[in-house]
Symmetry: C5
Subunit: 89 residues, 5 copies
């Protein structure tokens, strides 16, 4: 899994039907690169989250057929890194 | 999923039969790197889209046997980023 | 899928039996990095091709058990990029 | 598989139910980039480990439905590299 | 598949049971980055090999449940690149 910060909501009206109405969020890695993830939890802008990729993203989104390659699986409370963290408790 | 801009159509007459006649588009990431995706939606040159990779690209293209590792799943209307977006409403 | 140019043939006599006798080609991305792909089409050195990765590479090579993570799926005729292309018609 | 050093524990109370109560560790690659992995072994901070990604991470975590894309599979005793290793016996 | 040179053996006594006693090798890409692979062939230090990733690494290691994301599938005899190769016949 990778660590991301939630940047905001992405709106895509024209979409394949398998995506259904699930909420899509724009996530940003520390490096600045952006990805789009399915959010089954209900995150807010600014939250630090972990998201799963690969084929596990499908199951995490609720079904082994769901077309996701990145799904949020948890909101980070904190982690104990060597450097004082970007994520406070 | 990743965010791409549609650059144009790619023509490949000699292809494996499993690809069928689906339209292939050249997509460009913000970093400039190009990928080729299956387009089940009908995008136009210049559209900003989200595309799914990994094994989910197969289902998104219509079948768990379809040989795609990148399939467009939606056309972006807009997203609310911190910086004024490249994608206007 | 990604765009590659065929650089040449790779010979590997000692191989796992599941690879069978399929032809392996060395491909080069525009960035210069090399990969090795299964070629079910019959490409020539210098051809520009698209190759599929992820689990789709197995089906593209002919079987859901075939041990490939990169399989050529088409020879590019041309694409209409913004910049005058590296690939002519 | 990739080589990582365990940096610490990550706490995420709000999580999808499929993650269950498994321990999540922050891992760091030699390049400095961080990932989050499931730990079925019981590693300590500072341990050098190997972790598996892709769809194999699901089975390594105990079930083909478990939503992991990175799972620790072993603690490294040593390896015989050309350069005197970062990992001592 | 990617091209690697075998750097040496990796010893990890504490490991998940699914890994069994298979030999793990440290491989190095031309760029210098290291990975760990399962070796079903029997490679020697210094050998140039091709290894398969993604979900195909599981089947290549002998079972669709085996927890590998990188498995050696062949020892390279030579390839005919444009530049005089690093791998001689």
């Amino acid at each position: 899994m990778k660590i991301f910060q939630v940047e905001g909501t992405l709106v895509a009206t024209a979409r394949i039907t398998q995506l259904e109405n699930n909420r899509l969020l724009v996530l940003r890695e520390k490096s600045g690169s952006r990805s789009v993830a399915v959010d089954p939890i209900g995150c807010k802008k600014g939250d630090w989250v972990i998201a799963v990729g690969s084929s596990a993203a499908k199951d995490a989104a609720g079904s082994s057929k769901y077309p996701s390659d990145l799904t949020i699986v948890g909101i980070i409370d904190y982690w104990d890194a060597d450097e004082p963290g970007e994520v406070a408790t």
